[in-house]
Chain length 397, copies 2
């Protein structure tokens, strides 16, 4: 396979079509922070500021500055977002709000712990890029606040009646498995190792279901199955994203068996979640084949496909499993045909089952400058590594 | 138009295809209450009990017993649901939970005041059917609890940060406009009149937007427009349902001008919400034409079409406005082609934009035995009245 050619497609999309879209349309020069509700051409259609997306955009530009190129505009953009977050993002106890008005007034309470997770990531990367001590402190303090809240992350906003059906949700252990490596440089090594141990155990033993070879979104504390809407829920995109997080943890631990287990689970998720009729990965499924609660179950989402591409390339790079390469080609074709908008930049976020654009937006309440540039950056790098490996093999023949 | 023929279509669907589906598949003979998660053929695919749907089913069978036929099975079915609700449905302060396990243990906290609204309706209709004083008390006590909670219906579960963007939502004033007539027989007449005054004012003056001739889902306290996702949100189905509630209030007040205003708003909602490409009424729209937050925005929902049919027939019966009759025919055709399942009974609930079945269910977390039988009962009655009027005109010629 011509890995170099693929690598340059991902790199070009990142540098020429995705980053310019955000740099041009997203910064709010008047009040600080970023606009994320951007239509097909990049016009701002709503000015609310969602902490998830503010923080993720700070992270993206910091990470690219750290890992790709010391571009001063990228660092400046990250700081532009971070200063807005620092000034307006938290309540007096250090919890991150869910959203703010354009001017920075709190709109939605800190009910969602993922705001805190993305703020932790953002400030740790920006600390690495800038060396500013205050950013390190914000990251570490937020991380310890997450650990404190992790057993009851929704606090008073939790609608579950205690004791009747105590399920734990996959999202937080999944994110922590990524977050721990993201912020390793600001943490005590003992905490890093303990968090990795817990993450691998929770994701790969508690949530993993040996019967189906899949990971479910909600399980009992001991990992057992709940035959309820929540318990039957499968989110293939989550599984695929989590599996490349686990591959990173396993690589760090030098655990090839764990990498292979992650690859197998990811392939299972793709086989289960792939839409045999129209192509693309379905958003939600019920593991028993019942109608899911989520009306959007059959839609095709940008992040699911972006993360699947990263997962398959990482899987192939780490194991050489041919199934990963076959899936990568299929995902690449679907994604470039349906999500990528080479005319206007960035990717569409939401397609209907047939792959037609459902919402003509490039950013909104949940889609910002994150999954697409991260996946493009990782994919071009993995493809370059694969090209180099191939060259080496050929030259040794 | 052959109103008699149409009337018998609605009556036959109600009596032969819809009620038997629920009577056969829904009662839980072991633990009481109703199963509402029923697939195409009526098989139970989930056993959770949602208070909205438990109460609405009690209401439906009580209402049909009171207004259509003194069928002892209907009363028995209503009591079967009411006894389960009475025993398990409330917390110690009398707030209604959102959902219970099959056995009746609370699953989801009383965060949703509409559980209380539907319980009020249910027990008031059942009191009328049964004369059981305890049911009257439950209805009245719940109603006063709603009034007490109405300015902050979500209580501690509200995620809005106070003061930044204080919007009021249309759903509660809309439901109260219907509820007040539903429970008139258990209320002090002064409270009835005051609630009607407030309902008409809130719906037709505060929420109504003279610029567009439409009603929005969320407005500031003075009715002014908020240029935000919530503020721009239009739910055509809500408008159509609310407009027939208002026609009932206006009829009681003998206010023909108000009826005409309601008809005009309803027609506006249909013209705005009708999908010019694939037919059917869209679920959500952004009044400024931006992408809405709701991923399910382009779906076609059963209740929207059921309520639109009732609204157009009521509008025609009360005003003779030919536009209502034209819309009724268009809605009837779409509905019978896409929602009605004459083979297995009941209607499908959720169609995609093209009118294809999106979820192969007849009941779920939000769809129960309510909108369809209520609409069928009201429609057959309105069509019969229209047939009689026509006969009278013809015989007088």
């Amino acid at each position: 396979m011509d890995f170099n050619r693929y690598s340059s497609i991902y790199l070009k999309n990142l540098v020429d079509e995705v980053l310019p879209f955000w740099l041009k349309n997203s910064p709010d020069k008047e009040y600080g922070g970023f606009f994320t509700c951007l239509d097909t051409e990049g016009r701002v259609f709503d000015t609310d500021k969602f902490i998830w997306l503010q923080a993720r955009q700070v992270w993206t530009f910091s990470m690219l500055y750290n890992q790709m190129e010391k571009n001063p505009l990228w660092l400046e953009t990250a700081i532009h977002g971070a200063e807005f977050l620092k000034k307006h993002g938290r309540d007096s106890a250090g919890n991150w709000y869910f959203s703010l008005s354009r001017e920075g007034a709190p709109l939605v309470q800190p009910y969602n712990i993922f705001s805190d997770c993305f703020a932790t990531m953002a400030f740790a990367q920006l600390y690495k890029a800038s060396g500013v001590e205050e950013y390190r402190e914000i990251s570490v303090n937020t991380f310890f606040n997450i650990l404190k809240r992790q057993d009851n992350p929704k606090g008073k906003f939790s609608k579950a009646f205690p004791g009747t059906r105590e399920l734990q949700n996959f999202s937080l252990p999944m994110i922590l498995s990524n977050l721990v490596l993201e912020i390793e440089h600001v943490l005590d090594p003992a905490i890093v190792e303990a968090t990795i141990d817990k993450g691998i155990h929770t994701v790969m033993e508690v949530f993993y279901q040996p019967d189906s070879g899949l990971i479910l979104e909600n399980v009992y504390a001991d990992g057992s199955f709940s035959d309820s809407f929540e318990g039957r829920l499968l989110n293939p995109g989550h599984v695929l994203e989590a599996m490349w997080f686990v591959m990173d943890l396993a690589t760090r631990r030098n655990d090839q068996k764990l990498i292979e287990k992650a690859v197998n689970i990811a392939i299972n998720a793709l086989e289960y979640g792939w839409d045999k009729e129209f192509g693309g990965i379905l958003y939600f499924l019920d593991i028993k084949g019942n109608p899911p609660q989520q009306l959007e179950w059959d839609q095709k989402l940008w992040w699911v496909h972006a993360e699947a591409i990263v997962c398959m390339l990482k899987g192939y790079e780490k194991t050489g499993d041919q199934r990963c390469l076959n899936w990568f080609k299929k995902l690449h074709e679907y994604t470039w045909k349906n999500f990528v908008d080479e005319d206007n930049g960035e990717w569409f976020g939401y397609l209907n089952r047939r792959g037609e654009v459902l919402l003509p937006l490039k950013g909104g309440k949940w889609k910002g400058c994150f999954h697409v540039p991260r996946a493009l950056f990782l994919a071009q790098g993995l493809l370059k590594t694969l090209a180099e490996k191939e060259d080496k093999v050929l030259s040794e023949m």
